[in-house]
């Protein structure tokens, strides 16, 4: 599984939706299942999958799948 697939899978399992629903445009304020609890589960899942620990500012900024990719690139994850 490449990094993008791993990230999409993390989103799908954290938001409890089918993988086919995940795309780069998916955003925090436009997807009802992506609430504050799901966000925390998502952060935990991303940290576990990529073996990193995110800064609080990055957790706050992670408002879409595309933004998550941008943030992860700071942690030397390439897409």
């Amino acid at each position: 599984m490449n990094s993008a697939e791993t990230l999409y899978q993390a989103f799908a399992s954290s938001l409890d939706v089918d993988l086919s629903e995940i795309n780069d445009d998916l955003a925090y304020n436009s997807f009802p299942k992506w609430d504050s609890t799901a966000h925390m589960i998502l952060v935990a899942e991303i940290e576990a999958q990529f073996d990193i620990m995110l800064d609080t500012d990055d957790i706050i900024d992670m408002s879409s799948v595309a933004k998550a990719k941008e943030i992860l690139s700071k942690y030397e994850v390439s897409f």
Binding site: T37, M40, I41, V43, A44, E45, E47, A48, D51, M53, T56
Partner: protein
Amino acid sequence: MLEDKHILVTGASRGIGRAIAEVCVALGATVYLGGRDDETLEHICAELGDNAVPFSYDVRDADQVKQAFLHIQKHIGRLDGLVNNAGVMIDAPLAMSRLEDLQLQLQVNTVAAFQHSQLASRLMAKNRQGSIINICSVVGERGSIGQSAYAASKAAMSGMTKSLAKELAGLGIRVNGVAPGFVNTDLTNHYPEQKRTEILDSIALGRAGEAKEVADLVSFMLSDHSAYITGQIIGIDGGMKL
């Protein structure tokens, strides 16, 4: 009672923290003993065996705290329990309280506990279970003359406990506080005899508590035997009146 659980205890090199580590190891947990005194931590862990792991870092240093949790994430991959025990108590009447002493108590007793809870909850969220125990104080609950700064830091911890219990319940994480009264530790052994006598007179059971007694309560709160308890500040003070 705590078999297969991985638990981080801050301020574990002495007093209540050390007792908590000892009891949890005895009950089958793997315990990470946080503290600043490398030598003492190594010594305690050598006594407790392979299930006791020294974690030398300063809870006031946010980067060091983050590194400690990164180590747990990379090498253990889970955390079942966190005990925010590291604490500072500086007694002084209001007029003689230095602001830096207030800030130190807030930094260790409140801010460090907040950051630990923040990072621990992310490790716990992965498995949708965990127990966070904050060592609060009867002083934070009821107030005490000459301890306004300490009371402020511990009352903040109690408020944090109740809020996090609500916020993290959906993730299967329980958050509770344990509020000791007068316990025989390094924090209290400098008290002059007259003050000690006055305090003991205010305790219904007529004696100071022991660190092991607090540790027994904390171990219960960490265990699945307390699975339906969250958002509580549980006093352990021998019936103390302040």
